[in-house]
């Protein structure tokens, strides 16, 4: 008998899955630094994430936080920049740094069998970084060149400007660096920032993977004895000053064949009760490949290679953003279509079938996102740093399962209003 290829096989709805966020194990080092650990996975690898409250909200001069974070491993009292990097790389270990608005991290990926060799080095760069003048000069020079290159890219310009319109240039979420900022930085700035926010800073650790027996004692020996978490870090308050003008069109490159389009409005952070249901609405709108923006503007009209909407979750504030690069001659039409999709969501109930599809997709994707120790600890990290508990996780699932088309329409009426959006095209 021929197989029936018309009817879809029977599925189990993802909304009926029992999705669990596996718990972490917590311990505290001698100096009070809290460690959140999740052990698991088949591969003999481990991830150690040192999170410092040393993001750019804490800096007094532009770029100090990012430069300090980047140069942590470029020299200590006993080792040159090369010796440090070489020592990590000899063991196939990767040491990454990253700096965001509130926090800055130093992340180690290594084979479990080499953990004991590289953890001491990690302690050393936190305790004894020296910020050599030569390393600073090279970074400044290369950073300026990188900026020159990025300024040629419409999407880079668009990303900077849309944040500035939303939050204001004096807000950490809205500011960005110009060439002069790189030139203005001196060693003193970095050393001062380092002393306050790393050496004697506030730190929290996330660790995941296959742990060697020495995991906890070595962490305690090399990180747990440092003078961390002794002083309270003052919460930084930055007023949001949004632009008054709403619509912008900028020519960055006259030869450009595409325009970088950004539409954005303010949106509350995860603590707001509207947040979980709005995630569902966002998915319908532009949050995944099957979204309305993608179906209409890419799959029906072919104006763009991709169009996405997302909720930008900063710790203290957020934004709802639509982002795409579209052909120069269809930018205007693209923007009109985005507004048209907003209007449809405000005026017409989402059909039950579409809503169910999105719910299943979101929960199936969530199940996939929780697969593996690094993904699990990463989710816990997001929650813990944002003062959320597992209640948030289970509440979100509950809302995704139960939210109705009527509730989504109320949210669309509240948030998807054309007049609330900043609109920018960079050609």
């Amino acid at each position: 008998m021929a197989v029936d290829r018309i009817a879809a096989p029977i599925i189990k709805d993802a909304i009926d899955f029992n999705i669990q966020l596996k718990p972490y194990h917590k311990f505290t080092l001698d100096n009070g630094v809290e460690v959140y650990a999740y052990e698991g996975g088949a591969q003999e690898v481990v991830l150690v994430d040192l999170v410092f409250y040393a993001g750019n909200s804490f800096e007094q001069k532009n770029w100090v936080a990012a430069a300090t974070n980047f140069l942590l491993k470029n020299g200590t009292s006993t080792k040159t920049s090369f010796e440090i990097t070489d020592a990590f790389e000899f063991y196939g270990a990767h040491l990454n740094r990253s700096c965001t608005n509130e926090t800055a991290t130093v992340t180690l990926h290594c084979l479990s069998k080499h953990y004991q060799e590289v953890i001491p080095l990690m302690g050393e760069i936190i305790a004894e970084a020296t910020f050599p003048e030569k390393e600073i000069a090279i970074l400044k020079q290369n950073q300026i060149q990188r900026l020159l290159l990025n300024l040629k890219k419409g999407d880079f310009i668009a990303n900077r400007l849309i944040d500035e319109y939303l939050f204001g240039f004096d807000h950490p979420y809205g500011k960005y660096s110009v060439e002069q900022d790189y030139k203005n930085i001196n060693r003193e700035d970095l050393v001062t920032f380092y002393e306050q926010y790393y050496k004697q800073g506030k730190c929290v650790i996330f660790i995941a993977g296959k742990f060697p027996a020495t995991m906890e004692p070595l962490l305690n020996k090399y990180i747990g004895q440092l003078p961390l978490n002794k002083k309270e870090i003052k919460e930084q308050v930055h007023p949001i000053v949004s632009a008054t003008q709403k619509k912008y069109s900028i020519v960055n490159d006259t030869a450009s064949v595409q325009g970088s389009i950004r539409l954005a409005r303010h949106f509350p952070n995860r603590h707001h009760p509207d947040f979980p249901a709005t995630q569902v609405l966002n998915n319908i709108f532009g949050g995944f490949f099957g979204s309305r923006l993608m179906s209409n503007i890419r799959e029906d009209k072919g104006y763009t290679y991709g169009i996405h909407s997302y909720l930008q979750n900063y710790m203290h504030a957020g934004a709802w953003m639509v982002s795409t690069d579209a052909g120069k001659d269809v930018c205007k039409a693209t923007i009109e279509e985005v507004y048209k999709e907003m209007k449809i969501l405000r005026e017409t109930l989402v059909k039950e079938e579409e809503l169910k599809l999105v719910k299943n997709y979101m929960l199936g994707a969530l199940l996939g996102d929780l697969d593996g120790p690094f993904q699990i600890i990463s989710r816990w990290k997001t929650y813990l740093l944002n003062d959320l508990t597992e209640d948030y996780f289970y509440n979100t699932i509950k809302v995704v399962r139960s939210v109705t088309s009527e509730e989504l329409q109320v949210l669309a009426e509240k948030y998807l209003k054309e007049e609330d959006f900043f609109e920018l095209v960079v050609y």
Binding site: P9, I11, V257
Partner: protein
Amino acid sequence: MIQFEKFQLDNGLKVLVHQDTSTPMAVVNVLYNVGAKDEDPGKTGFAHLFEHLMFGGSINIPVYDEPLQRAGGENNAYTTNDLTNYYCQIPAENIETAFWLESDRMLSLAFSEKSLEVQRKVVCEEFKEHYINKPYGDAWHKMRSLAYTKHPYKWMTIGASLSHVEEATMQDVKDFFFQFYRPNNAILVVTGNVQTEQVKQLAEKWFGPIPAGVPYVRNLPKEPVQEKSRTMDVRADVPLDMLMMTWHMGGRFDEGYHATDLITEVLGGGASARLYEQLIKVKQIFSSIDCYHFGTIDPGLLVIEGKLVKGISMTVAEKAVLEEVEKIKNEILDAKEVQKVINKTESVICFEDISIMNRAHSLAFYELLGDADLMNKELGMYQKVTPAMIQSTAQKIFQDNNRNTLYYYSKS
């Protein structure tokens, strides 16, 4: 060690199963043995355009994505010069949905005019976004056409020109499909929370009835040995000068392949590699520099490319790179440096194998090479590389007549 089982259907479809019960998910990966290198030189970009069309509906299922999303799945695909790979990740309980979808589009596409028309536009926008509207976006187009005279690696997967994509016809699409998208030209890999018996039964049910096609015999023109160094000057509206050099290297089956891979690590793998340390940090000639290769199946290119510090001349930069290249030819590496790049490779392999998705990609790729178990032998191949092998491989590759150089100047 990645365990797997392997069987073949009567229509020639190879099926590999790797079980991992620690995950609630499964990955269904279908690799087609067709890449940009199999294209007609007058119709380039086709394999990649085709990848887009594979989402435009199949003979019995009008839309590919919706039923998959309804089952909680996600999918994507990629095209290289060597192959095209489709994969979806789905809760293991709903795995049959993936079999239904993947088998129907292997059976036959819907060949919708609308889908072809839209995807031609989408791919043109992709072309613009990545290769025109981006500084240095055309560098690889130019380098490939400089380095290859005969072999089809001379064009990029996106295509040699926008017009090739714009001119694709429905007849081209149908011909391409029935030539390459047949079960005997594909490898199906299933990883995750599945059992071999279950996969066998599902594969027979959904893929078994698809007729085999005429076997594809690949007969690509070989790239002749390069006899003279080639250069090309480009002037464009970019902020910085860029230097890009390539040398022909062996393919995936070449005995020097693993040594070549380690050479790129010694020179360009990370901030303690030689080019970074010497040319960015010590001499400050480059603001960024990389050394890499693409791991292509046929003989490929070893690449060194970097952006010059403003004020440094192209001649000085070129000389500095060549000094490092001479060093690796003339001075044998010490054992510690070799050990470092082998350790790094071990680490890369371990981290790559974490997800069931990557395991599926790797199994499919190594099976395409001839035997999925090569995946488990890879580290051993690297461990056998000695300092002498690195030196002799470097001497073979880094010859002046084997070199192609793109001088990419800033107009400003």
